[in-house]
Subunit: 231 residues, 2 copies
DNA sequence: ACCTGAACACCGTTCAAGT
DNA sequence: ACCTGAACACCGTTCAAGT
């Protein structure tokens, strides 16, 4: 199976204040009433909780506790739980794009492998961060009408996939169809693969996940190549 | 867009008891203390709530209220909220399989269209029942260790998809690869297409959803055909 | 055997009050 | 401008008690 990716996701801010303790005199000026950057601290805490306890542990109160502030403090930075989740999802999308970018840059002059590398990076990220991935595509943030942060995230992913497809087209390995249409289809396949695997629905049908991803990528590439050769 | 499918999903049991009212004397023997089939009534209520209020409205207490019983009554039939959601998901899978079966039987002697019909039926169902679909693939029921009802549901879907692929193979339109491996890949594409569309991520990239599904099916079929012609 | 009522711990959210 | 504390409505879950 894939290993945990080392991404700049968990900052380990750990600004946990000693709660309750009776004689906790503020030594120096270390314990300011104002936090400084509570928004970032809350997001960092949220990611830790998500990783440790899963999606049902991600409550506003738990996040506030982990950041060492009162239960109502988050409301100065997030209008409600959905907005907090949107912030988490946005961080997830940024991290995923970085992972794909890194994988993409590792294979600069191999158009045949471009899309395969993107696919591997994408699936790897999803399986390494199951709870985060579910938040990114969960029902809470599906309607982006009041979530401007998430309005354009999809374009980022689509950009990488269609870039891989464009390289294949330039190398003559994929026909001259609309790269965006092919990109959505490819994204769908990768997204479905991650989700069904997280749901345990791919257990046993393939010898291994790598084999399944291999087969999926092969089908996609042949399919997109075939679209031109049969025109 | 697709229209709402008329499936035997919502039984309209509507056994709502007049709650609270002061002088509500039991006329006849219509108000039995024991419900009869509370489990089914609860599931029916759950589906109604899911359709009307979405996934966040699906609470055990709301379901109990809708069925006209006390808040603790459901616990005789479902160990906890997860088990209730598993029951809902199981109904969803059964309804989806019926929809695919109906679509499949409508095209008995057209192997070229078999997979396309399955794909249309699948995507149609998902988009017509967004909240239900999300429950079926949500994190709550992902771990089926203690949800025996959902243990084999994936096989049902895979059966229909691989049946469509087998017909294509018999007609010589798809190469001799492992139909189950191809089926999971196809399922992934369809699942991803539904999820990304529910998330609004396919807005604008394709002229229409039908066009996108058309393109995806074409790519899949070409891809699976190409696997043999290039061996 | 099946359902009710009260209770507990927890959560989202609000709002007056503190610094 | 930013955070706290108390409060309200709601939820999951339990358990003694009712029929």
């Amino acid at each position: 199976m894939f290993t945990m990716s080392t991404l700049p996701l968990f900052h380990m801010t750990s600004s946990r204040r000693p709660r309750g303790g009776g004689a906790s005199a503020p030594r120096g000026r270390s314990r300011a009433y104002h936090h400084g950057d509570l928004r970032s601290a809350l997001l960092a805490s949220a990611l830790e909780i998500l990783q440790r306890e899963g999606i049902e542990g991600l409550t506003l109160r738990a996040v506030a506790r982990a950041a060492g502030v009162s239960q109502s403090a988050p409301y100065r930075h997030f209008a409600d739980r959905r907005q907090l989740m949107a912030g988490v999802a946005a961080q997830g999308f940024r991290a995923m794009e970085q992972a794909m970018l890194a994988e993409m840059q590792r294979t600069p002059d191999a158009p045949r492998l471009g899309l395969k590398m993107v696919a591997v990076a994408y699936v790897k990220f999803g399986l390494a961060n199951p709870a985060l991935y579910r938040v990114m595509f969960g029902p809470e943030v599906a309607n982006t009408e009041d979530l401007p942060e998430l309005r354009e995230t999809g374009r980022g992913v689509l950009g990488f996939v269609s870039e891989g497809i464009r390289r294949l087209q330039e190398a003559g390995l994929v026909g001259p169809g609309d790269p965006w249409l092919m990109a959505v289809t490819t994204w769908s396949t990768l997204h479905g693969l991650v989700m069904l695997t997280l749901d345990g629905q791919t257990h046993g049908v393939a010898p291994s996940l790598e084999a399944l991803l291999d087969e999926a990528t092969r089908i996609m590439m042949f399919g997109m190549a075939g679209r031109s050769s049969s025109a």
